[in-house]
Symmetry: C2
Subunit: 369 residues, 2 copies
Amino acid sequence: MGNFEILNQDSNCPARRGLLRTSHGDIETPVFMPVGTAGAVKGILPQQLKDIGTKMVLANTYHLLLRPGAEVIEKLGGLHNFMAWHGPILTDSGGYQIFSLAPLVRIDEDGVEFTSHIDGAKIYLTPERAIKVQSQLAPDIAMCLDECISCSVPASELERGVERTIRWAKRCKLAHEKKEQQLFAVVQGGIDLSARSYCAAELVKIAFDGYAIGGLSVGEGYDDMIRTVEHTVELLPYNKARYLMGVGRATDIVAAVRAGVDMFDCVLPSRNGRNSLAFTENGPVRLRNSAHTNDSRPIESGCDCYACKNFSRATIRHFFNVGEMLGAILTSIHNLRFYQRLTASIRESLRRNEFDDWAKTYLQKYGNF
Amino acid sequence: MGNFEILNQDSNCPARRGLLRTSHGDIETPVFMPVGTAGAVKGILPQQLKDIGTKMVLANTYHLLLRPGAEVIEKLGGLHNFMAWHGPILTDSGGYQIFSLAPLVRIDEDGVEFTSHIDGAKIYLTPERAIKVQSQLAPDIAMCLDECISCSVPASELERGVERTIRWAKRCKLAHEKKEQQLFAVVQGGIDLSARSYCAAELVKIAFDGYAIGGLSVGEGYDDMIRTVEHTVELLPYNKARYLMGVGRATDIVAAVRAGVDMFDCVLPSRNGRNSLAFTENGPVRLRNSAHTNDSRPIESGCDCYACKNFSRATIRHFFNVGEMLGAILTSIHNLRFYQRLTASIRESLRRNEFDDWAKTYLQKYGNF
């Protein structure tokens, strides 16, 4: 029995409903993973994540390596105990921070040296160390160390990054010994389709438990992103999970599922929630806005989240206005639930083999089709 | 049937277990009310308050009057709807802010003018307006506007404050029309026992639904506080609820219950929680301390709160260290539960008529007896 099983294949597009098997339970895909950067989805307790319908979360190797350190988490029994989240966890490898913290990074063939954005300490990450650290953190799914490449670099630099990502993936696979932990590789290549083809083909030869598409949603724009995803997915094994890293907006997710993607993570619901921006079926609502001073409506009518069932926009607006934490917490709860409702709708329409029509209607309505 | 009923009278001291009847349910006393200054106990959702064992909360008239304003809350159906807390609520009157915001206050016989600490706007509070505002906020229990007097003022000033508190209480009683809302008066008088006697006697003549002891825990020290509480309680009607405002530490509460007090509120559990200081039966624990970096123990062994059942001190220490909100939230949950466990133990020992011994042991152990 593999770690991934396809439950329904849509007849009109590459989208599929799947079952991902992990050491901490089986979950249906497409799945959205809230981001618990430093071991917590900001402001949200594990019980609340569960109530929201969350099945799986992501945590960041780089941030946890800085503080509190992989040894601390290992001694405390791994990330599940540390975070008090007993469902599946995926950790990224630090590869994204090569991109996002570029000015603090020195990279060579052996690995990457980060200058800590906290205290200037030097953090060295090689493919082997990324695997070692993720073995200490003990998530259900670990990621290979990759070089996340900006979409705007010259072809020669892109090529060098892709080659390095492939060599590093080989070293990660060799170093990976934790049998109960799955290891996913990351396809890079910017928006250059032939670079993506080459990277995917080489990684598939090495054989991983699943494949991620990295280096997107970094400024390339919707059309280039979806085109690259559609192209890359076709090069990946049909019976393995496909994970689009760091994406994204609701429409991005619908379009990527339509291209055959199974897994997503993104900070948008929690980060926007903290900044008072709520997602609704009628578009975003800025709750801090004084228009909501007397607004007795919930954030989104018909939503079944704790915030919408209990609080008016007026109260949440007041909480933001006076600096009460509950403003950020309630809006994050709503946004995270919005994403879980979205992926539940996607899975349901896949189950009924109606996804392709559902997706076209959705994308037409929200402007990306 | 009155609004307060005595269920057990301890045979060895004035402590009693009671039942307070309100429009939003009956609750057993002694009761501890967490403080929801601006309509929220900071970082804690109503469902969490309930899970912690909270039966009743306090909110601050002055702060809610500034933002979002009493009219807004009235339009939204009152504080219960606004806060999404459907148990009993008590609001203070703004009298305490006459003391705590003294430099921003001008007081005369008619009332008190506050200069908003937010934007400098002038807020005028008379006894009649304090009642009107609390009628709009619609808590179960409203407080008379009083003049909270520093314990260090000359006798003449103390006397003037007490006289004014009595005259204002009369005006509040006259202005109070909301039949389903109880009105409590506040006994002032600093630590001058004869001023307390006079104030209590005059307020009892006017006849209120309950009586608070105000103006304590403002720097007078434990011994003076308890002496004043013991003295004042004896002057209050036996069959009415007695509420010691803004108090306090666990030992203060035990000693005040022993003197015959039924109700308490205090910011300590939530404020200290936000600052990483946790209460335990073995004394306070500073969770931010690096001593807890690898500490796999819960905050308090044997505690049944969500934080202790799920998180190690190491994780909570990490949350404080990296600025994750969950540090403040989890420690607040623990501290609030600590106070609810304390009052539950008090009520249980009263039920078994063992409170006086229990209290002596408690106070001996924790250093105030």
